[in-house]
């Protein structure tokens, strides 16, 4: 198990290098000017030219990138052009916000997705199944940013239940965090809830038809016991493998949701960095995010092995 984990981590290193090369390649193709972003829409061309010199943007992109790699190997991700702060510091400040939002979404996804899927499977072909699956289908078909906009109007403006967005640090005000994060988390999670509910239902139907479920019933196990102990333990295996996928989608899907709900997460940070041509931030941030995602995949694979004894022993 340990060897397996270490091997997976070793495999991640060349992938990270590739990630950074790809993002470098893309950035080399991106036209535009971070000075223009910094100067804002009312800046005059004259101010802009001077700002470019000030920021050292008149150097070639190649030499900027060389500087970046030089620093990278010293563990320094450089300074953001737009924010004027160290990339690593900003990324470390922001990622907990995104990760906590993604985890909240994940909790919503798992609770709602699993229970909708399980209920639908248990009431297979009854009206509850139909309603649940219609809900799941709508979930996977509605664009999340649109859902976010509509939710703001509904829950903030008309009903006044939830704030329009923003971010409240969890440890300062858990209730405030909960209120502020609910709409973004829900609009992020909606599609994943749909996907998970559909996956859970089909897996559950498959598992409920297995011989070992019959065995469990033949032992006199009650229906809840059959579902929870015998069926769920098997349903969870494919579910866990998609959870990694879901979490990475939640983390990257947050670009647009974070923008709409004014959540200062890593998604909004990198989205703005790309739109603002903040090259050091894009490079450093993407490597960081890719590393997190790769790590997440490793965790999921290890978790998968732990859940499925057939894989574990091999």
């Amino acid at each position: 198990m340990l060897a397996y984990t270490l091997r997976r981590i070793a495999q991640a290193v060349p992938i990270l290098l590739l990630v950074s090369l790809i993002s470098f390649g893309i950035m080399q193709l991106v036209p535009g000017d971070p000075a223009a972003v910094l100067a804002g829409p009312n800046a005059t061309p004259d101010e802009l030219i001077k700002l470019r010199q000030t920021l050292g943007l008149d150097k070639s992109l190649l030499s900027q990138i060389m500087i970046f790699y030089g620093n990278l190997f010293q563990g320094d991700l450089g300074y953001s052009i737009i924010l004027g702060e160290p990339v690593l510091k900003v990324v470390l400040e922001r990622s907990p916000i995104s990760i906590s939002l993604a985890l909240y979404s994940l909790v919503l996804t798992v609770i709602l997705g699993l229970s909708i899927g399980v209920i639908a499977a248990m009431k297979h072909n009854r009206w509850i199944d139909q309603v649940a699956m219609t809900f799941a289908l709508i979930g996977v078909s509605v664009p999340n940013f649109w859902l976010g906009l509509v939710m703001i109007v509904l829950f903030s403006v008309h009903l006044g239940w939830l704030p329009t967005g923003g971010y409240v640090p969890f440890f300062e005000d858990p209730v405030g965090w909960f209120l502020a994060a609910t709409m973004p988390a829900l609009s992020l999670a909606m599609m994943q809830i749909g996907l998970l509910a559909r996956l859970t239902r089909s897996t559950m139907l498959e598992v409920l038809g297995q011989d070992y479920i019959r065995t469990a019933r033949a032992k006199g196990a009650s229906e809840p016991r059959v579902i929870i102990k015998h069926a769920m333990s098997n349903v969870l295996i494919p579910v866990v493998t998609v959870l990694g996928m879901i979490l990475s989608v939640l983390l990257s899907g947050s670009v647009i949701v974070e923008t709409i709900f004014a959540v200062p997460g890593i998604g909004a940070l990198l989205g703005n960095a790309i739109l603002g041509r903040d090259y050091p931030m894009i490079q450093g941030g993407l490597i960081f995010v890719a590393a997190v995602l790769l790590m997440l995949n490793i965790v999921v694979d290890v978790l998968y092995a732990w859940l499925d004894p057939r894989v574990r022993v091999q």
């Binding site: 070992y212 065995t215 033949a218 032992k219 006199g220 102990k229 015998h230 098997n234 004894p309 022993v313």
Partner: protein, 337 residues
Amino acid sequence: MQKEPILRVEGLRTTFTGDEGTVVAVDDVSFDVNEGEIVGLIGESGSGKSVTALAIMGLLPKSTSQVTAERIMFDGRNLARASDREMRRLRGGSIGMIFQEPMSSLNPVLKIGDQLIEPIRIHERISYRAAFDRGVELLTKVGIPSPVQRMNDYPHQLSGGMRQRVMIAIALSCSPKLLLADEPTTALDVTIQAQLLDLLLEIQAETKMAIVLITHSMGVIAECADKVVVMYSGRIAEQGPVTDIFDRPGHPYTKGLMQCTPELTGNPRRLTTIPGALPSLSALPPGCRFAPRCGLAQPACEAGRPPMIGVGQNHASACIRADELVASAAQPEGAEV
């Protein structure tokens, strides 16, 4: 006078509803199982023998199947009227069951030990420790080496034969009065089949529980059973004590089954199979369901359902020519002796 049988099935009927309409899988099946008796339930795949066992256990999916019976008396209780709760208490407690597929009948993600002691914990107020010890004991009893280690293994770490031993141990864990064994050896190698059957017989001799042994092999029946119930296409074709059936089969189908089993006839040249296949449940012939495949069929066979005709002590056959058959079977043998 004879004691009450431990299981008395009367007029069991099971239907399935699916996309293609409703089919009757088991139609008016009645038989008795006495205490300490091994009853062989034999028939081809699809003849309704497994469904019969599952219906008795109440394990058929309620959404797609309907089970009715005049009575299913088990140990003084009518299972046909029992609540879900009562059924749960019986399942794994007084009635154990073993399934055909040892490979898939154990939950792949739970430890052997957990699965083994589960029925004990469900049916008895007993500590985990005590249940665990009982599990080890059971594994020893079914002949599994180093049982304590095996308790912590997962199913995929065991061979098929070992898994079926585990299944037997699970079924036996609460000392049932009745064991329903649904083709317990079919999926296994021949040598292992024999070992397992010996094991079952050994345990039966010790515990005196009744066994309903479902199989499609006359060889297994010959070796184990006290009584035979032959099923064909959802109905009982013939039932009776095992010696009667083998000596004087009262149904052409029973005869055909025996002829398929070389070690019984002792004459490989007479190895014949029954021509044709089981009729589809959605297109059953009107009279005797075996008639289309029967070499002895007469026009009368197709007129209506043949009644059960007694042809000996506790021996009955659903063939209008049963008496003829019994007589002819006795004749040549008697002549030779």
